[in-house]
């Protein structure tokens, strides 16, 4: 007998998960980050993350006993993306129509003049942060997703400042052995050697020894420089300028 997938029943869990995300009923774990606390479900969270699993399983630690996990050191916005991911298998940054997630964590300083802030044009840094958070808490699926989106963002949504910040994030919040985003960064620097003319990048190269090393090794392997020698040659930069003005 052939088992045919019944569309309605096979998709049954998806709306159900979304409901769970919004509904605190049945939740058995609280994640506190910054000022915000979110009620989540161990059954959803723990199987995806060894960190959360260990925190909940060890009844001898405070978390295991109280069912409350505080993440004081993390960026609440990124933590919220992570929680969103647990229930939706994806995450959205600055969704203009549904501001709920950014509302939750927007601080007083910015909430007042929110309207005058233009929509953010590049998410490169955010993806890098999601990536390192996923690495920290050992969430393989999220890490993979962030990697893909980081890669796409660099190709389609270029912003130099954002990229420069992302380099710092990647080289300080993941271990050297984690080559995922580093490879993309180095390949981008190689393709666009004009960036090396910028002081910001030069500062980074001075500061981050492993970045310099990675880049040299990349050049060594490629044996020549990438195509876009000047900023004006770079199609991505041209595109951004057209957008801006």
């Amino acid at each position: 007998m052939v088992i045919t997938m019944n569309t309605s029943s096979s998709l049954e869990l998806i709306p159900f998960l979304k409901e769970l995300y919004l509904d605190e009923k049945y939740s058995d774990l609280t994640i506190i980050c910054g000022t915000q606390s979110r009620k989540v479900h161990k059954a959803i969270v723990c199987p995806r993350s060894k960190f959360f699993a260990a925190a909940c399983d060890n009844k001898d630690f405070k978390e295991g006993r109280t069912g409350i996990i505080e993440l004081p050191d993390d960026d609440p916005r990124i933590v919220d993306l992570m929680i969103y991911y647990f229930y939706h298998l994806t995450y959205h940054i600055n969704c203009p129509k549904n501001q709920k997630q950014s509302d939750d964590y927007s601080t007083d300083d910015y909430s007042t003049d929110e309207t005058i802030i233009p929509p953010k044009t590049s998410d490169i840094l955010t993806h890098a942060k999601v990536y390192s958070l996923a690495e920290k808490y050992l969430i393989e699926g999220l890490k993979k997703l962030a990697f893909e989106r980081f890669k796409t963002a660099i190709e389609t949504n270029w912003d130099f400042q954002d990229f420069r910040d992302a380099i710092w994030e990647v080289y300080t919040s993941t271990v050297d052995a984690d080559k995922g985003l580093r490879d993309i960064i180095v390949a981008t620097l190689w393709k666009r050697p004009w960036m090396l003319g910028k002081k910001e990048i030069q500062d980074l190269l001075k500061e981050l020894g492993s970045l310099s090393f990675d880049l040299l090794m990349h050049i060594y392997r490629m044996e020549r420089w990438g195509p876009y020698t000047t900023e004006a040659d770079d199609p991505a930069v041209r595109q951004m300028r057209v957008k801006k003005y």
């Binding site: 960190f51 260990a54 925190a55 060890n58 001898d60 609440p76 950014s102 271990v175």
Partner: protein, 844 residues
């Protein structure tokens, strides 16, 4: 918080810190984190972790790793744990290893009671368990908070994980540490193993032990590995404990087995072994380790089953012989299960069964031979005692044959029953049993004859009043026996002979059953085998039609005479019927044919029938077989003058059914005067009946009292001879004073009953068998050679044996002899191969 950037140049976000960041691995940062972590480790060991935040500790180690100080953290943790272990874990363990414990476990010091040993052992094991469990739990928690160290550092540097390293401390510092100067060759491990084994042995002896305690200690050994590589095969349990466990188990069961051997009760041994196997399997689940379940079973199998199997099987009074003889179903079932464990071919059991089958088979034969012997003796010593006795002896012999068959069948039933109930219908055993049966049936030279006689007896009498199902059983048995018989051709001969008698004398109980028997044989042995039998049935049914036709023909002639003789004829096609039935004179070696002289009336009848028969069948020759037929005669015994009372005073009429030869002889006396005697020679001259047949005919009408139609006298003393067989020197006369209570008499013909052959007959049969075989072998050789044209000698022999295997097992000299013969008759010729093996070529 970071939500976007300001519209002007001023960035509304937290910049990646421009300030000189705390450099990775900066001493202050690290030391700060490590201090916190060290406190936490201590708290965890002291079971005081309740207020520690997992996230915080995780974050410390995460930060350290991120700042590339993983190796420092790793080393610090390791140092801390080693120190902790030395100071806090080991001293209590050492306190448990007392001198007393060492001497009990390693030297088996005498004088300590079991209870004392058990409690001391338990105390030690509990100490080890407690220490292990708390160590293990702490190490699990520590490994969890240091999870990122394993991920970010340990893996990249291919160092063993924190858990592996710290858990290994238990192995390196406790299990592998020596016992100090007193026993330098021993380690704590030896004490642990010996203590556990001691406990297990106590349980084997019937004591109650703390199973869960042992299981905990064993699972510790399962969790620990020889090295930090953690190779699956290098679990300490497998490398250190298990070999010791297996070795000591060997010792334990070896001595147990020796005890059982001394006690000499196979039945107790079987049950003991079965129980021990179950116990050990259970022990692996509850007390030791499932990893050893097969190995420990192998120990029991080897020590308790394999090593002394033969000895237990041969035990007098309880061994396999007694199990079989007394139908000890349960014993045999256990035995089968045990033997199956150690040997899929079950060699020992198979052989024992085979031997017993043959022994029992030979016993049957022995019993029979004894019976045979006594009867033979009687008839030898009382040779002149009279034919009635001898007939009796022959009948007894036949009965003995049937008894033999019955006994064999009983034996077969017995083993079949054992096979189904005890041996799980094992195919190997079935083959062995079948072979053994076949062996003894064939080693007993008269199997073929006896089986045929058994069928004969059943078809004549045995199936009377039986239901179809019961008859079916009888037929099945017959076929079963038939399967055992190797010399199928001999059986064919006997069956042909016996069937002929049944058919001609109308002795068969049921035509249907006869046919069924034949068709079963056909299924079992093929068309060829039953061809003749079917021919015989065909002859009988055509003869019935012929007789009917002839009667109609005679009626049509209208010449109904007063003393019309009714003829019922069986026309037998020569090939289908045994030579004995066809009359001795048709035998090949019997020289010129002698025709019996029939009385004139009969001759007329014969001519009339011959004329009728050949009308439609030109060129047929009919030979009258006097020895095979019977005749119904109406006899009138006139009243004896002078007698006034009793039956003799009247005329007496009897309807006598008698063999054809008997009829000829009786008719001869029709014209003999009152006190005239005819000598044997005179009768023979007048009738030309062959001497042996004549003796039979005369004996049947002169010896047995109820059928004494003729009076016999001889030159020797009369009285003693009255009952004996007729002899060529005797004289005969019509017994006028014959009286019988019944009107209808059926004179039994002396040799008509199917019975066991005497030695001469058997010799003759054997001779005939060999003669027939010669032709069969000739035919086989020629067929093979015709097909193959050229063939090596050895291949030819093999093929001949193969082709004939279904019928009989030809012996080599005979085949060689036949090849020689065919060479001389130029059916085949030798092929000259230089230095090659001998070979033959077919001559077209």
């Amino acid at each position: 918080m970071i939500t976007g950037r300001g519209g002007s140049g001023s960035r509304g976000r937290i910049r990646p810190p421009r300030r000189p960041v705390g450099r990775p691995g900066q001493p202050d940062d690290f030391e700060q984190c490590w201090d916190k972590l060290r406190e936490a480790l201590r708290d965890i060991h002291n079971k005081n972790a309740g207020d520690l935040s997992f996230e915080q500790l995780y974050r410390y180690s995460y930060k350290i790793v991120l700042k590339k100080a993983g190796n420092q953290l790793y080393d610090r943790v390791k140092d801390f744990e080693e120190q902790w272990f030395a100071e806090q874990v080991m001293p209590p363990i050492w306190a448990l290893i007392t001198k007393n414990l060492i001497s009990i476990t390693l030297d088996e010091a005498p004088g300590t009671s079991i209870a004392e040993r058990r409690s001391m052992g338990e105390k030690f094991l509990k100490g080890v368990r407690g220490s292990w469990e708390s160590h293990n739990m702490s190490m699990n928690m520590i490994a969890d908070i240091l999870m990122y160290l394993d991920r970010g550092y340990t893996q990249d540097c291919s160092r063993p994980s924190i858990y592996t390293t710290t858990i290994g401390l238990f192995r390196n510092h406790i299990l592998r540490s020596g016992l100090g100067t007193s026993e330098p060759q021993y380690h704590v491990f030896d004490i642990l193993n010996a203590t556990i084994i001691d406990q297990i042995n106590m349980e084997r002896e019937g004591d109650v032990i703390d199973k869960a305690l042992i299981r905990s200690c064993i699972s510790m050994l399962e969790c620990l590995f020889e090295t930090d590589e953690e190779q699956e095969q290098e679990r300490l349990y497998l490398t250190t404990f298990e070999p010791f466990y297996i070795r000591t188990s060997h010792v334990f069961y070896k001595s147990e087995c020796e005890r059982l051997l001394r006690e000499g009760d196979a039945s107790a041994w079987l049950r003991y072994t079965k129980r021990r196997l179950a116990e050990e399997a259970g022990r692996c689940q509850t007390t030791v380790s499932p990893l050893s379940i097969h190995k420990i079973a192998a120990v029991v199998e080897q020590e308790l089953i394999s090593k002394h199997l033969e000895e237990f099987l041969n035990l007098e009074g309880s061994g396999i012989r007694s199990m079989i003889d007394n139908d000890r179903i349960e014993d045999l079932t256990i035995l089968y299960n045990l033997v199956s464990r150690i040997d899929p071919k079950k060699t020992a059991l198979r052989n024992a069964l085979a031997v017993r089958v043959v022994e029992l088979g030979n016993e049957i034969e022995q019993t029979l031979r004894n019976t045979d012997f006594s009867i033979a003796q009687t008839s030898d010593s009382k040779e002149p005692a009279g034919s009635a006795k001898k007939m009796n002896a022959a009948a007894q012999q036949t009965a003995a044959a049937i008894k033999w068959v019955d006994d064999v069948l009983l034996l077969k039933d017995k083993f079949d029953r054992l096979w189904t109930t005890c041996f799980d219908e094992d195919l190997t055993l079935q083959t062995a049993l079948t072979k053994s049966f076949s062996d003894f049936v064939n080693s007993f030279g008269r199997g073929a004859e006896f089986v045929s006689l058994f069928i004969d007896d059943n078809l004549k009498r045995g199936i009377k009043g039986k239901t179809e199902a019961e008859v079916d059983v009888v037929l099945d048995k017959a076929i079963t026996l038939l399967r055992y018989i190797g010399e199928k051709d001999k059986f064919e001969q006997y069956y042909q002979k016996h069937l002929a008698r049944r058919l001609l004398h109308g002795k068969s109980e049921s035509q249907e059953v006869e046919q069924e028997m034949i068709s079963r044989m056909k299924r079992e042995l093929g068309n060829n085998f039953t061809q003749k039998f079917e021919g015989m049935f065909r002859d009988m049914s055509t003869s019935k039609e012929t007789t009917e036709d002839y009667r109609n023909h005679v009626r049509g002639l209208g010449a109904l005479e007063h003393n019309q003789i009714d003829l019922s004829i069986s026309v037998l096609a020569g090939n289908n019927w045994p030579k004995e039935v066809m009359g001795r004179f048709t035998g090949l070696a019997d020289g010129p044919k002698i025709k019996a002289t029939y009385p004139r009336e009969i001759q007329r009848l014969q001519e009339s029938f011959f004329e009728f028969y050949t009308k439609n069948r030109n060129g047929r020759v009919l030979t009258w077989v006097g020895s095979a037929g019977t005749a119904d005669i109406k006899c009138l015994f006139p009243k004896i003058p002078g007698k006034t009372t009793g039956p003799l005073a009247k005329d007496r009429r009897y309807d006598v059914n008698i063999s054809t030869y008997g009829m000829i002889v009786l008719l001869l006396f029709e014209n003999v005067g009152e006190d005239e005697w005819l000598t044997f020679e005179e009768i023979q001259a007048a009738t030309s009946i062959p001497q042996p047949d004549l003796i039979n005919a005369l004996t049947s009408v002169s010896s047995l009292k109820p059928y004494r139609l003729l009076t016999k006298k001889s030159g020797e003393s009369k009285e003693s001879q009255a009952n004996s067989a007729a002899k060529p020197t005797d004289q005969f006369t019509f017994n006028r004073e014959f009286v019988s209570k019944t009107i209808k008499l059926r004179v039994p013909s002396v040799n008509a009953a199917n019975k066991v052959e005497n030695d001469d007959e058997r010799k003759e049969t054997d001779q005939k068998t060999i003669e027939t075989r010669k032709y069969v072998i000739d035919a086989a050789i020629v067929r093979i050679m015709k097909q193959r044209k050229e063939l090596l000698h050895s291949q030819l022999i093999t093929e001949v044996i193969q082709v004939l295997a279904g019928r009989f097992k030809p012996d080599l000299p005979l085949i060689k002899n036949r090849i020689e013969d065919l060479l001389s008759r130029e059916y085949v010729e030798r092929v000259e191969l230089s230095d090659g093996p001998p070979a033959y070529r077919y001559v077209a």
